[in-house]
Symmetry: C2
Amino acid sequence: MAPFRRPRRSAPGSPDVPPRPTASAEIPCAASGAGSASGTRTRARLLDAAERLFAEQNYEATSLRQVTRAADANLAAVSYHFGSKEGLFRAVFARRIGPINRERIERLQALERESEVVPLEAILRALMEPALRLASEPAGRWFTRLVGRAFSEPGEHWIEADREFDGTRAAFLRAFAHALPHLAPAELGWRLYFAIGAQCVLLSGGDQARRLMSGMVSASDPRAALDQLVAFTAAGLRAPAVGGRG
Amino acid sequence: MAPFRRPRRSAPGSPDVPPRPTASAEIPCAASGAGSASGTRTRARLLDAAERLFAEQNYEATSLRQVTRAADANLAAVSYHFGSKEGLFRAVFARRIGPINRERIERLQALERESEVVPLEAILRALMEPALRLASEPAGRWFTRLVGRAFSEPGEHWIEADREFDGTRAAFLRAFAHALPHLAPAELGWRLYFAIGAQCVLLSGGDQARRLMSGMVSASDPRAALDQLVAFTAAGLRAPAVGGRG
DNA sequence: GTTCGAATCAAACGATCGTTTGATCCGCCC
DNA sequence: GGGCGGATCAAACGATCGTTTGATTCGAAC
């Protein structure tokens, strides 16, 4: 009877103020080992299921009932742990993108520490290998599909999602500018645009993409894929400047 | 009272059997000129509105009520003219993809007619310029965003959508193989994969992509974009074979 | 002037969506 | 052993979705 002054709003995920967008990117519970009961494992199972479904389908095409059914959890668990559907998406993204970008920057710094001018191929590998390696692991295969699409898909979710890439972008942009002095800034921008695009379609590993090149690419070998991607993008970046037409 | 034996099912779009997937790709009424009344212009207005909304948002995120409101048409007009939401999507895609692929093949055939071995850059321009040029026209700007995403997005709609590209793919694959004899078929497959990927992110012109390279690329000049794309992909395709590692 | 069919319309259909509610379970600490 | 709070639960909320219905409009054919 008595209205009971809004008892909720104390979930770990977020109350009325949504969780910080600059997420901490820590894996709460890696869904490994056999915890005694269900513990807080529900949160991890929700992330796993949502990761797969968001990648297999779309953000909009994936219903929370699908997610909770796949995660063997209650529908309200999403609201409880993540506040909303978009909170779930942000958590899926933040869980893995942090470590990837951290490894990228650490590898780049190590390269810059050991030599004055870093070879172009080394920069490219530092940028692309962490994500590509994740694509070859069962746990990260779905996530890389999401990352690959973040570059070209519309929607508010994505804008916030790859804002986490900003720091990484700045660091690598300087490195590329040093390694490619023959390119004007505008030209360097175009070429990096294309290079990242090539990486993204490889990460997204789209159903269409695989169909399109069916029989020609052996998508099973991630090592060969990385070698080919580095060779292709390095040559493209090193191409002579086209400057003002012609 | 009397059940009135299902009077509908005679729309031009499709009855119970959906319209032929291998669409004729003819523009029914180019939404230009001032027809007397509303005529069948509604169909074209629906296509225009859906094209923009599907590109700005997503297939799933776009409701038919949004489309019909933007097109100043009745909600039931979609069912009447296209049979269903997916029929509308197919019609949007079929309206423009036919002419693009036709121009691609005609340009390639013209090149092969006038010289024994076609230069790589010429093949690339024949493949990429028709779509890039459409991106610079007001009428086609939204559509190119769709085309760029067809390569990496999941969903049934897309699978059918770029099946229309099959013929074009085969023709250009032969041309590339002739122009790049130093590449094994598997390597050629990878590189074409990346080249098309670079083109797709340029076509999709994603919100994120533009943000990511903000200030570096002047996206306003489509001619410069094409020059840069051709230079980048040509160099990437011509890169030495990496073969078996290293 | 009547008939016919393509085209448009308002209104509703059942289904499913994201979110919220209040109760219930259960391990833990004092 | 009694209370506390995190976690889970069934059930419902209002909104919106794609689709369908049956009536209405309107120009052309006869």
